[in-house]
Amino acid sequence: MTSIAIPRRRKVPVTLWLGLALLGILAWATAGLDIDGGRLAGLPKTLARLAGLFFPPDVEYGQQAVIPAILESIQIAWFGTLVGAVLSLPLGLMAAGNLFPRIARLIKPVLAMIRAVPEILLAIYFVPVVGLGAFAGTLAIGLHSIGTLGKLTADVVESMDARPVEAISASGGGALAVLRFAVLPQVLPEIVALWLFRFEINLRASAVLGVVGAGGIGGVLLNTLRYREFAKAGAVVVVTVVVVLVVDAISGTIRERLVRE
């Protein structure tokens, strides 16, 4: 009986080495943590006990303190996004290499640097200037959004259809006419969709800014947990999850319609 030799796959050793390398990295990383087997084994019990303390959530506290705080987070996110949107539009257009090749090379790194600083670090600098509260948070969200929205706006403009631009230029239109009749009609729906998407992200970001005293619901959660008032913390968690889900759903529906049309 003859057997046909099946060529062995040579991929196996590579996968093996990769797996070993990842395990090694994981071992290095876990060595830095103060964990032992007992702590890890007790984890499910600890979490279950804490989750039990969260329920039932404190409804009265929810109405009195949590709802106003999440509304403030929404206000911070909305106004911050608006500031970012308004300021990022001209910057994003200028950062588009196909419209302004020279200026784009200057603006792009600036946007990248703004983007690289998380909102909460910006808030640490705004709080001493304008005081504790929502205004500092709004400025942090707004500034960071200029960096992210500016980049995304430039990306959208760079991937648009170039032919309308040529058509307007060929028929004697100047830079402003090109912008008004060839660029904006093409890119605006997509850019507005990006703004809405950023609003969803900013709502999550503004929810945590209270940790450094920049307004919103984050400070409420920090304080309830600090004094170990878990039923109140439960109210914060429930309200946050519900509000974010609702805002996401509304914003997502509008975004879908915008991009489809």
Binding site: I35, V117, P128, V208, V212
Partner: protein, 262 residues
């Protein structure tokens, strides 16, 4: 003279636009009042701003040796969060992908689980875990594990939904069960994208892990919080610059890896 026929729904379109515009204007007005927006406050505080700038610059350069240890801890938190979180994200993504999920109820359950996980910001998880297991990097790692599961599973599920279903049909037609279908047809198709999402999550986690310490969940943010609350802004600036440089460096490495992959 021939008049152009008007689109029948134009009037309703105008009404809808007007209502939407009014709603957005009201929302903006309400927000501006709520946050106490004022140009006066923005530009009336130039004195405070110049004082803050003079306190923040020059940065406390000699402070950087004390940042290396905490930053390594930050990287370790991000590594654990990424690797373990991605491991959990893979089955969740498969079960939450409309086309591949074994049944409708399974799909709905995991899709909704994914949405709920995504509503909570990273620092909320960090606060919750810090009060469960105590302050320190262990809480931070747990927070980033959940955060990674939320992001990677969402992105991967979307990739799975866009794979070529003819190949999965082929496996089924030749008698393969659900596991074989996933293993031999779906997985090979979305694996490269999954790996690139894992790297993307690592970049996000590095950023996130630098601020976890603000709520006591370990890493360089713990040092940042001490300096911030004692108003030593020259040290705060040093930490921010250090984090900035390290994050950019790690992102360049990760982006290069992603480019080679995809």
């Amino acid at each position: 003279m021939i008049s152009r026929p008007r689109r029948p729904n134009q009037a309703t379109r105008w009404v809808v636009s007007a209502v939407a515009a009014a709603f957005l204007a009201l929302l903006t007005f309400w927000s501006a009042r709520g946050i106490g927006f004022s140009f006066l406050e923005l530009f009336g505080n130039l004195g405070k701003m110049s004082r803050l700038i003079s306190e923040s610059f020059p940065p406390a350069w000699n402070f950087w040796p004390r940042l290396i240890g905490p930053f390594i801890e930050t990287v370790q938190i991000a590594v654990i969060g990424t690797l373990i979180g991605s491991l959990f994200a893979l089955p969740l993504a498969i079960l939450a992908a409309r086309t591949v999920s074994p049944s409708k109820p399974v799909f709905w359950f995991h899709r909704n689980l994914m949405s709920v996980l995504r509503t909570m910001p990273d620092l909320f998880w960090a606060m919750l875990f810090a009060s469960a297991v105590g302050f320190g990097p262990f809480a931070g790692s747990l927070a980033l594990i959940v955060f990674t599961v939320a992001i990677v599973s969402k992105l991967t599920a979307e990739s799975i939904e866009s794979i070529d279903m003819n190949l999965t049909e082929a496996v089924k037609a030749s008698g393969g069960n659900w596991f074989e279908m996933v293993r031999f047809s779906a997985l090979p198709q979305f694996l490269p994208q999954y790996v690139s999402y894992v790297l993307y999550a690592f970049e996000l986690n590095i950023r996130a892990s630098t601020v976890l310490g603000l709520v006591g969940a370990g890493g360089i943010g713990m040092v940042l919080n001490t300096q911030r609350t004692t108003f030593q802004y020259d040290r705060v600036t040093m930490i921010v610059l250090f984090v900035f440089a390290m994050v950019l460096l790690i992102e360049q490495l990760s982006a290069a890896a992603r480019r080679r992959l995809v």
